[in-house]
Amino acid sequence: MSTGATPAIRCRGVTKRFGHVTALDQLDLSVPEGAVVGFLGPNGAGKSTTIRILLDLARPDAGEVEVLGHDPRTGGPALRRRIGYVPGELRLDDRIDVGETLRSWARIRGDVDPAYVDELCQRLSLDPTRATSALSSGNRRKVGLVGAFMARPELLILDEPTSGIDPLVQIEVLDLINEVRAEGRTVFLSSHSLSDVQRVADEVVVIRDGRTVGGGDLDELRRSTRQEFVVWFAASPPVDALHDLPSVSDLEIRDREVRGTIVGDPNPLLRLLAEHPVAHVVLPEPELEEAFLRLYGGGDR
């Protein structure tokens, strides 16, 4: 949840063209300080271009960009010292091993605690003695993650941070992100998959064809999400009462089995179920992906 008044990242009307292709089209974006914000969108939506602009790797054709209160174009090394970054496509120098790669980044940053680097390597199961040339894409990403977290920067910009990483280490990465949030630092997390983002983010921004198409508080989004349910009653279901529930729709009743969807407050349904003998209930976690599809009008994601 946002804890500061000043946004850590603010983009207004940012446009970026590559020849005839418009990668970003009047993009607006705001990331509150101290929050974990998921940056979602299908592949090719403009997520990496946005991130590269935030780091001054690319320059916008129009619009205003502010990162930690500074224009990335003029903020220079002093601004980038406050940022940790994992690129979507991480290419490492194959001539040196993992440990030397990390030490080289630490020497360039100059404000890194070697003990914390060791701890990060341990937590992410990254062997610093391994040759970078022999690393899998997941392990390369871990090197990038250690590099981004090592200096405990105020802002972490992570482009697809868990892509290719095994599930146990993914959990560790999400734990690290939660720790960053607990320390009041900001995380801007890009992903094309919702599953990671919904486990860690306070807010989301959804981008499509280079434009922000929506976003907001993840809890609110969850509340507005359609949630399917199936209930098997021990006796005849209370058909009339079910039809009267304001948040329930799409009811299908076959004998003692009732299927339907809830949008919004689930409590009236739960209270009704408590009053009747129920044999079995299936109430899966609402899929935010479905919410995005519905809210932002995309059936072709």
């Binding site: 590269r52 780091l55 690319a58 690129p87 120098d93 080289s104 020497r107 360039i108 940053r109 590099g147």
Partner: protein, 267 residues
Amino acid sequence: MSAATRELLRGAGRAVRRSSIWWAVAIIAFVALNMAFWPSLEDSAALQSFDDLGAILDAFGAQNLASPAGYLDGQVFALMLPLLLSGMAIAQGSLLTAGDERAGRLELLHALPVSRRSIWLTRWSASTAALVLVAAATALAALLCLPLFSFEGVGTGRVLAATGACALLAVFHASVAYAASGAGASRGLAVGAAIAVLLAGYVLSYVLPIAQSLQGARDWSPWYWALGEQPVHDGISAPGLVVLAVATAVLVAVGTFAVDRRDIHSA
């Protein structure tokens, strides 16, 4: 120098260390081998008759082949050493800049707290330093070969100056590639631009002046600024070197200025 700059230099130097050793071995072997043949050729009538070819040999920077200094110019310093050193400088300089950028290896470096200018200038410096070290080793080898293979009357200073001029010519051509890389060219394009300038300079300096009426063409050639007609036989002209050094500085400034004003290519 800041710790970050030292680290950037170290990283760039590491990237060209191994290939520099191979370039040094190849160039030194080429120079030593050519010099080793002098004792068996100096009295041969063949070299004297070569001198009668006059203008044709001019096109290869080879005049007075029958004199020790002329032989060194014709076989090493007027053509082949500048070509070899330029080849090395262009290959390594373009690898560290456009090559590494297009391969995505500069992406993370540019997101670290260092300026683009320092990243690119340290890369130019590392490739130039490697070239200077190889040129110095070559000069040393040539100096050792002078007495060994009886190059009588050839001064140490002349050989040192000629090697230095060849090295500066190489750095100039690498800087053409650097300027192109800085402006956003791919490695292939940057190398192509540098080789085009290299060949154009050769034509201006050695080919066109075969026609008497086109002798003035060489005044526009970086080769002529660096080496004159015969660098060991005639010596090096300091004003020419100054012009070349200024042109090199301008190219480095253009490349560094240009990279600061564009997007960094991603992989």
